[in-house]
Amino acid sequence: MTTKTQAVGPSSDGPLLQMSNVVKRFGTVVALNGVDFSVDRGEVHGLLGGNGAGKTTLMNCLYGLYRPDSGSIVFEGKPLTIRAPRDAIRYGIGMVHQNFLQVDTYTVTENIVLGTQVSSFPRFDLRAARKKVMDLAERYGLNVDPDKRVADLPVGVRQRVEILKALYRDARLLILDEPTTNLTPQEVDALFDSLRAIVDAGTSIILITHKIRESMTVCDRLTVMRDGQRVETLVRRETTPRELANLMVGDQAVIERVAVAVGETEPESDTVEDKAPKEPSTTKSADAESASDDEASAATTDVEAAEEAGVEEKPADAEPASADETAADTDAEAQQDAPAGPIRLRVEGIDVPGDQGAVAVHGCDLTVVSGQVLGIAGVAGNGQVELAEALAGVRRPSAGRLSVNGVDLTGRPVRDWLAAGVTYVPEDRHRDGILTTATIADNLLLGSQRTSRFSRRGVVRWRAVRRTASELITRYSVRASGHSAVAGTLSGGNIQRVILARAFSREPDVLILHNPTRGLDIGSTQFVYDRIREVTASGAAVVLISEDLDELLYLADHIVVLYNGRVVGRVPRQQADRFQLGRLMAGAEAEGREDDRP
């Protein structure tokens, strides 16, 4: 496509980017402690690490969102001072943030051209820009409708908009921060194809991720970070997932636990959260004829990776249920055979309105008994948020009834729901889960402020609150300076730990979890799974709403599929087949989703 360099590995001109000895402090917290990092021309460079390892912070320093306290940046052989994103863009660096930085009310084209030169005389004309956007979209397989408002677009498409934004500005280095977090397996597959096309056109890519398997699929080289330091830089072909996990976690005990718990469901010693290569490989076999060379080579690498990991090879068309059934043999079996306990949560024919007033969930019936995990599968935006909020008592259904432990709570205030033992872990952590300007102690107290433990005659017992907060911070390994740290200053993973600590410490009867492990690293994810097992063992009922099929197959006793606000399938876990579930999630095979690749 272009004549730019296509070499993988060190090029004769030296590295494209060289960051040296970068230090960044937030107050007393050292986020980056002298990091060296370099990227070659024409490579996908994975930046791997757990929560709070400093991956995003390092890239924010490169993109000018943070000013490093010291360190130097050499890009294309020239030393740069990057004071603001404006500078980074001018030098040819683009970044796709995890929380997309888009103006919701603007169209796709407007978002992409925002901040660039567009002539306003004699009239403001975006047609040329729109044409360029469409050309780029076609060239790299990033399909978007340039005239749609971004607020109306699904996450996968919004991400393409962000990538196009960088390409529109002729970025020669593209940074992607956890790009697969919110994507369906098919979208991940499409994204990786696009990334290959972008790299082949001469742009280098930095892929921030905590998913080992994903990085093994697309990256040429990998840099592992831990605790604000670079641990190691490796060539992908010369490493194994297990080695990467070792470097990432750095704690042998945790690795063993992860391997024991996850090893059986997953051929690689990776988190259960990672589903990317499984589904993609099936899509590949489905349309093998149309598969490009890139796809073929990616698929091969996938198998190689599995072999290297020293685990049994799992061909693309293997019997899918078998692996999951072996997992069921472990510790979940006891629960399945146990007689059904008392009904904790009963949902009868509820309709739930969405934010715009239209009905988002239609006639939903659910029953969850003590000790069980009910999984709710579905592609994001099919009514999960509304259903979760209705189950938690936050959103009032327009029809139907909800009862907890036999008590009808339909339409009752949230206070009654809390008193009844219902606890909710929302999907949108920042918006619904935490008070960003309040301290950790305040956040942990939230919802329990009326209990006798923390209040006496309407006055909060702060000493008890602070003591409990400190205990929970230790127990849930929240990385913070103490209970008085402001929640908004924590990293995303640590915020989730605070929210989970609050939820689990309340010893709930009914626990509503919406994507509880999204964006968490291996150790944290396993920690959440352990807690879920713990509360179900003590008799709680759990509703787990997740877009991650592996997670559901690993934890749920029954799986319900939500499509377009309706329950379109119910399967006990033993009979669950991920491909059948996938078809249900996509609207019962018949209608393709618009955010799927054509």
Partner: protein, 313 residues
């Protein structure tokens, strides 16, 4: 018919102070800076505009200079708001209130210092109407729209210009993005600070001008309290107009009509004056109650932007 014309002839100049102050509020607000010092900046504008014009001779020409200096003085106050909120990141509301008090105090003080206490308040020329040839001959529209003073024409042109800039230029697109999502704007290479400085300063200048117009239109004399709550109503007007220049203009027409109605009622009924004077405010309240739910407010209105803050936007 004549009654309607008379009424509108009064009501349209009555819009000026509202429109200028509310468009100023809108301008800053679209960039995310919520200025609440209108009342103070308008008082300062009224005082400064009057004094400059009076000292230079009190004619039409000096009135124009007075308007310009009033705008500059208010813009200086706007720059204080911009600096303290974007660079120092102080609370916009608190700084705005401080500027309100400062504006009121300075207005009064300047007048005392320059004029002192005199038995007969000094007077400047009020602005003459400038009929536009041909257009002013049109029945109904002619005398009401095209036989007005120069600032009335400016008000209409300004509203059109603001609409064009905001929605039909790249500059406007950038500016609106700063009020909607400054982090996205920043990441797209737009200087949030710069946009906020300009929008706040220009917005404040309009407020000062709106204040300066009052003595030049009504009586030719300045008195403390001449703004009479129009600044606060301008804030309400920005909301009623949904932070869009075209609707702000419409809303101002409504408020001006209420004001003139209140004035006319004062001379013709037995209802206490104090009660009638609350009309525009009560009307604002009622309108807000019905319209507010549907208005779109800039998402980052009143919120400062800190690039390095790790709190999600």
């Amino acid at each position: 018919m004549n009654g309607v014309i008379n009424f509108l002839e009064l009501a349209i100049p009555g819009m000026v102070a509202f429109v200028l102050a509310a468009q100023g509020t809108m301008l800053g607000g679209r960039a995310g800076v919520f200025n609440v010092s209108q009342e103070g900046l308008m008082a300062l504008g009224a005082s400064v505009g009057f004094l400059v014009s009076y000292k230079l001779g009190g004619t039409f020409g000096t009135n124009m200079i007075g308007l310009a200096v009033a705008a500059a003085a208010a813009a200086a106050m706007g720059l204080i708001l911009a600096y303290t909120t974007t660079i120092l990141r102080l609370d916009q509301f608190v700084v705005g209130l401080a500027l309100f008090f400062a504006g009121i105090g300075l207005a009064s003080l300047l007048y005392r210092v320059v004029i002192g206490i005199v038995p007969q308040p000094p007077q400047i020329d009020t602005l003459d109407t400038i009929p536009i040839p041909l257009l002013s001959e049109i029945p109904l529209l002619g005398p009401t729209l095209f036989d007005q003073d120069i600032v009335v024409y400016f008000m209409f042109l300004l509203s059109g210009l603001l609409y064009w800039v905001l929605y039909r230029t790249n500059l406007g697109m950038k500016m609106r993005s700063v009020g909607e999502n400054p982090r996205a704007a920043d990441a797209a290479g737009i200087s949030v600070t710069k946009v906020r400085f300009w929008a706040t300063a220009l917005g404040a200048a309009l407020m000062g001008m709106g204040g300066a117009y009052l003595p030049m239109h009504f009586s030719g004399i300045y008195t403390d309290g001449i703004i009479a709550g129009r600044g606060w109503l301008a804030i309400a007007l920005a909301f009623v107009g949904g932070w869009r220049p075209q609707y702000v203009l419409l809303g101002a027409a409504f408020f001006a009509c209420m004001e003139i109605t209140a004035l006319e009622l004062q001379s013709s009924t037995v209802i206490p004056v104090e009660f009638i004077e609350t009309f525009p405010y009560v009307a604002a309240l009622v309108v807000m109650a019905f319209i507010f739910r549907r208005t779109q407010v800039p998402a980052f209105l009143g919120r400062n932007y800190d690039r390095e803050s790790r709190t999600a936007s």
